[in-house]
């Protein structure tokens, strides 16, 4: 089963056909100058599988009378038919061939591989030259049709990498896609990485040969019943290994296909090969021709570069260029343990980008970078799961789960934990004799700690992975009216925060698995169970909004005076900025605004008013192209802002606009909730939204305009999601009335949605 056998088979067919051709020509006294026999398609490339049709084109120069030509063709084909050979033939002149090719995409593609077998050699060569010339000349027009046919085929035949019974030829990532890519490569419009496809094609062809041999037919669908026999014939350990290799090959094809279309879409009037203008979007990272690229001249020894580039690409909905991914792989440096906070956030921002993430993740995975960052990944990579519920291999299922989880980030307080749990919830699969949920819990804790999550967070991730099937299993199998059922789940889950994460994970996991595993019927049962467990846990728990900043007595005394002071302390890759300022209306929005226009990205903040002053601690990351201001500079900027001398609104509008020029991804809309907190006698406003420049400025300004005081704020950025908690009081000092709180939340939400 290999290239050699296919070549031998093709050569043998050539000899047989050539013999028959010459004897038929002699029989009907047809000059070998006026006709020729050629092979097209796969046979044209000299590759013949055991069950493949002989695709032949009989060319003639128009000088032979129609009757005689028909008799000649019959004499050529009858011996083949009698020998039970499947032949796909056509008889045409050079001009007819050209017309047919211009009308039929498949004919045009097949002709690109035309090969002379017998008769008039020049005739075949002219047709080959026409075919290639026309294909190149008309490609711009043919492109849309070609793409539509590829998409239509994928919809009809599914994806080779993920189907249980895929079609080796027709499925997405299969042999026909490879041919389409080969045809695109011949146009020289864009580079197509055909060398990446060589081993994939060789494998898929061998599997098809084995399938034809096993079934004795020419069908290309790899049915479950035949997978064992095919695996045995090809000397794979078992059918799982076979399907793993098929999935791997199909994914390589998929990846090149996506990339090629992306490149075709971005061929400007000039050639793709000409240098495109690039724009820097981060340290050592640019956007070139709508692909995110890593600067070759940059610091490639920076271990955090890869995930940073990936996060930027995914969040902008752009692919990571293949050259950059290869560059990253070639210059791979292990990340420190634990990972820096920014790298963990980059991972979260990558996973949280929704459907746009898959392409970027796939690129990293193709270069085996994911398993270098997370070694546990290697075991589930391309891992088939041969059961009726699943559509996808384990790794792809987890990616699909993460895509769904990204839509549910507003339903939880810790979107970062939800996304990481979604990406790794089945990491314990494929270990003989181990329950995948239990083993997954053992695996994920060390992974979480390596990523730099706290012990508490690692515990939550462990609980999520261990119990990711708990809600759906319990909801359908246990009596929800029985208090013991509720107690049992509550004990396993522990607290309301983990419960909301587990609920979101169950929904994402179910939706990603498919309709058989997740129906509205099941969703309603799971929601019912969750709400009962939630009520039970809330009754017992002391869950509170994010706690306010703690200050020592000495600090409190300084804050009370309210004299402006600024200190900046570098901490790893972020700056810690401590500010004491006189308390005044709009203080938070002014300072958030100053930081934003100084090109600092707020990662987290805690602020608290006390007496005449307010204390604030900010952690900010500096923009790629910005310099850190000195304490004096920042001090003077803040002083000006507090005097109203900086046109903050206009400047921030400018920043938001310049941020908007990048293509974005679809994100769930912002959610604002208000609740009264008895302990602090304040109203707590919680804002959950996708992060972008100036969020805090906008939020704080809107709240101040509403005529309430911001007593304290806790700002957190988790990957690409912002989670802000603000304690506000009415002018008289107490919590807002319920109606006013709801009105404020509503106004704020509308403002954030429309902005």
């Amino acid at each position: 089963m290999g290239t050699r056998e296919r070549r031998d088979r093709s050569n043998q067919a050539d000899r047989d056909l050539s013999g028959i051709f010459h004897s038929a020509a002699a029989q009907f006294s047809i000059s070998a100058d006026s006709v020729s026999l050629s092979a097209v398609g796969g046979y044209g490339r000299g590759e013949l599988s055991p069950g493949s049709d002989l695709d032949v084109l009989i060319l003639h120069d128009g000088s032979v009378a129609t009757d005689r030509l028909t008799e000649f063709v019959n004499a050529l084909l009858y011996p083949l038919w009698n020998a039970n050979r499947a032949v796909d033939h056509s008889v045409r002149t050079r001009n007819e061939t050209r017309t047919t090719a211009s009308e039929d995409l498949r004919v045009a593609q097949g002709l690109l591989d035309i090969r002379f077998i017998a008769g008039n050699r020049d005739l075949v060569h002219s047709v080959a030259a026409d075919a290639l010339g026309d294909w190149r000349k008309n490609f711009a027009k043919k492109k849309a049709g070609l793409r539509a046919s590829i998409v239509e085929r994928a919809e009809r035949s599914g994806e080779l990498a993920f189907l249980l019974e895929p079609d080796l030829k027709e499925s997405r990532g299969g042999l026909r896609d490879i041919n389409a890519l080969r045809a695109i490569a011949r146009t020289d419009n864009v580079p197509v990485s055909m060398e990446r496809l060589a081993s994939a094609e060789a494998l898929l062809l061998s599997v098809r040969d084995a399938l034809h041999t096993v079934t004795g037919r020419s069908r290309d669908q790899l049915l479950l019943t035949e997978q064992d026999k095919v695996a045995e014939l090809l000397q794979f350990a078992d059918a799982d290994v076979l399907m793993y290799e098929v999935a791997k090959a199909a994914r390589a094809v998929d990846y090149v296909m996506d990339l090629t279309w992306h490149r075709l879409d971005h061929v400007t009037k000039k050639s793709f090969f000409l240098k495109n203008k690039s724009q820097s979007i981060g340290r050592g990272i640019s956007v070139t021709a709508d692909e995110v690229t890593v600067d070759e001249a940059g610091d490639l020894s920076d271990a955090t570069l890869g995930l940073r580039a990936a996060a930027l690409a995914a969040q902008r909905g752009l692919p990571l260029s293949v050259d950059s991914t290869m560059l990253l792989a070639a210059n791979f440096r292990p990340l420190p343990t634990p990972w820096p906070r920014s790298t963990r956030e980059d991972l979260v921002a990558l996973i949280g980008a929704g459907a746009a993430m898959i392409r970027v993740f796939e690129a990293l995975d193709q270069e085996e970078l994911i398993q270098k960052w997370i070694p546990e990944w290697e075991h589930v990579r391309f891992l088939p799961q041969r059961n009726v519920l699943h559509r996808h291999t384990v790794d792809r299922h987890m990616l699909e789960t993460a895509v769904r989880a990204a839509e549910l980030t507003r339903t939880v307080r810790r979107p970062d934990l939800l996304l990481v749990a979604a990406l790794l919830h089945d990491i314990g699969k494929g270990y003989e004799g181990r329950d995948h949920s239990e083993y997954g819990e053992e695996l994920i804790r060390p992974v979480a700690l390596r990523m730099g999550f706290s012990e508490t967070d690692a515990d939550v991730l462990g609980t999520l992975v261990e119990h990711h099937l708990l809600l759906s299993a319990t909801a359908t199998r246990r009596d929800l009216d029985d208090p013991q059922t509720i107690e049992f789940v509550a004990q396993a889950v522990g607290d309301p925060g983990t419960l909301e994460l587990l609920h979101a994970l169950s929904i994402s996991d179910g939706e990603a698995t498919g309709r058989t595993a997740w129906s509205d019927w099941k969703a309603s049962l799971v929601a019912d169970l969750t709400s009962r467990v939630h009520d039970y846990l809330v009754g017992k728990s002391t869950e509170r909004p994010a706690p306010q900043l703690e200050l020592s007595n000495e600090q409190l005394a300084r804050v009370e005076k309210g004299e402006l002071s600024v200190t900046i302390t570098p901490r790893d890759e972020v700056l810690e900025i401590s500010i004491i300022a006189p308390d005044q209306t709009g203080l938070l929005s002014n300072i958030a605004g100053v930081l934003t226009i100084s090109r600092m990205d707020v990662r987290s903040a805690r602020t608290r008013s006390h007496g005449a002053g307010a204390a604030m601690t900010w952690l900010v990351a500096l923009d790629a192209n910005a310099n850190a201001p000195s304490e004096e500079q920042l001090h003077s900027l803040i002083a000006k802002a507090l005097q109203g001398e900086l046109e903050l609104s206009r400047k921030i509008e400018d920043r938001i606009r310049s941020h908007r020029q990048f293509p974005g991804i679809k994100v769930p809309p912002p959610v604002v909730r208000a609740m009264n907190d008895i302990a602090t006698n304040a109203t707590v406003i919680e804002v959950r939204m996708h992060d972008r420049p100036g969020v805090l400025f906008t939020v704080a300004k809107a709240i101040s305009r509403f005529g309430v005081d911001i007593r304290a704020a806790i700002v957190a950025t988790l990957g690409a999601e912002a989670f802000d908690t603000l304690y506000v009081t009415d002018i008289n000092g107490g919590a807002l009335s319920e109606e006013r709180a709801a009105l404020l939340a509503n106004q704020l939400e509308n403002l954030l949605i429309t902005q």
Partner: protein, 112 residues
């Protein structure tokens, strides 16, 4: 021949299945169903979002049996599915003209 159809609480499926198997029933069809009877739908408030559960999730189970066994099978199902509380479901039987086993072409009681 009779077709016994049972609408039961989802979590009772395993019990009913086990009881029917113990009785000697070898085949059944199970599907997800929603509906309401005396146990009306109710309104849930979950994390601020209100949603109406007007249809309660149930499991629908169908078994083909010989007419002589129908009453006994109904008893087995009722016993196994009962919790005594509202919403336990219903069981009914329908007369059946003919049954064919697709693989062998057997007809009537032989096909059950």
């Amino acid at each position: 021949m009779k077709l016994i159809t049972a609408i039961i609480k989802p979590f009772k499926l395993d019990d009913v299945k086990a009881a029917l198997q113990a009785f000697g029933i070898t085949g059944m069809t199970v599907s997800e169903a929603s509906g309401f009877g005396r146990q009306r739908g109710h309104t849930e408030v979950y994390r601020g979002a209100e949603y109406t559960v007007d249809l309660v999730p149930k499991v629908r189970l169908e078994v083909l049996v010989d007419s002589g066994e129908a009453e006994k099978v109904i008893d087995v199902i009722v016993k196994a599915a009962s919790t005594g509380s509202i919403g336990d479901g219903k069981v009914w039987s329908t007369p059946i003209d003919n049954v064919v086993r697709v693989r062998t072409g057997e007809r009537g009681p032989d096909a059950i």
